[in-house]
């Protein structure tokens, strides 16, 4: 009998080369970090069960899930609006998976595992907004897209879920992008091209920002 190993492989495994891309500066003005190994569940309210879902989610997570394009943080999960009466639960470590959420939530909602369907990229740096302006038609001005804002949108003709996490300690904004896994390498290269003139610091991480 052969021994099988089932090592997960990120869709960016090949494309992501840690280090600096593009212009060499003292400090790269854009940083791109892939966050690996997360749990992502999509919840969609059943017909007429939007309120029930909100209640059940409140009971499960301690917070009311977003009913507008926003994210809501809990100590161990991020609830991300993904459309009317639907949201994602993003977490680490197997606490919030379809299996663990279903008992409490499958009454008012359908659940669909998206953990492998997306790649999560975190973007920050002094020129993060400038670089993103090449990809996103959304207004990312701090007043228009504050911390906690989210959007189901497209970047470079590719569907993404975008949200603004907490600022870094140096005050720089952090933008998180969930992109479909099979498009990830392509969008990644587009991001590198877009950021090259500012210098891009590339890394990956196991930690949610």
């Amino acid at each position: 009998m052969v021994d099988f190993s089932w090592a997960p492989r990120s869709p960016l495994e090949k494309a992501l080369v840690a280090g600096v891309h593009g212009a060499r500066r003292i400090e790269a003005d854009v940083s791109l970090t892939e966050i690996r190994n997360f749990d992502l569940v999509q919840l969609m309210a059943r017909r007429g069960k939007g309120t029930d879902l909100a209640k059940a989610a409140k009971a499960r997570f301690g917070v009311v899930p977003p009913d507008a394009p926003k994210v809501v943080q809990t100590p161990d999960a991020t609830l991300i609006w993904s459309g009317p009466d639907q949201f994602f639960v993003l977490s680490k470590g197997g606490k919030h998976t379809v299996r663990t959420l279903a008992p409490a939530l499958s009454g008012p909602a359908s659940l669909s595992d998206q953990s492998h369907a997306r790649v999560l990229i975190s973007i920050s740096g002094a020129k993060a907004r400038t670089m993103l302006a090449k990809l996103s038609s959304i207004d990312l001005h701090p007043d228009a897209f504050p911390v906690g804002a989210a959007a189901a949108t497209s970047m470079d003709h590719t569907s993404v879920t975008l949200w603004r996490g907490n600022d870094r300690t140096n005050g720089q904004a952090v933008f998180n992008v969930l992109v479909f896994a099979t498009f990830a390498e392509s969008l990644w290269h587009t991001m590198l091209d877009s950021g090259a003139e500012y210098g891009v610091a590339i890394s990956h991480s196991e930690n949610l920002a």
Binding site: G48, P69, G83, P84, D85, S137, A151, T153
Partner: protein, 91 residues
């Protein structure tokens, strides 16, 4: 063109796909061939305000009813399709 998705806010044209006039209503089961023909093929094709289905496929995937002027492209109102999200609609 910018379309204000009732769920997402104002978005760029490129995120949406156009389908057509909302006026033709799919006939109930048992309708005649003539009625279905009318639904599938005939259009008022109005020059002026018209209500249209648009799909926010590049965003929240909601189908929208958009009232738009075909002479000026100005949009005067937008509402979600009856069954967008988890909206409850009686049969």
């Amino acid at each position: 063109m910018r379309i204000v998705c009732p769920f997402c806010g104002e978005r760029e044209l490129g995120e949406f796909t156009y389908l057509g006039d909302t006026k033709p209503v799919r006939p109930e089961a048992g309708a005649s061939e003539d009625e279905v023909f009318d639904y599938v093929y005939l259009r008022d094709n109005v020059a002026g305000d018209t209500s249209e289905y648009w799909y926010h496929g590049g965003g929240c995937r909601a189908w929208l009813k958009v009232t738009r002027n075909t002479l000026t492209h100005e949009i005067s109102s937008i509402e979600p399709a009856a069954g967008a999200g988890a909206a409850k609609v009686d049969a």
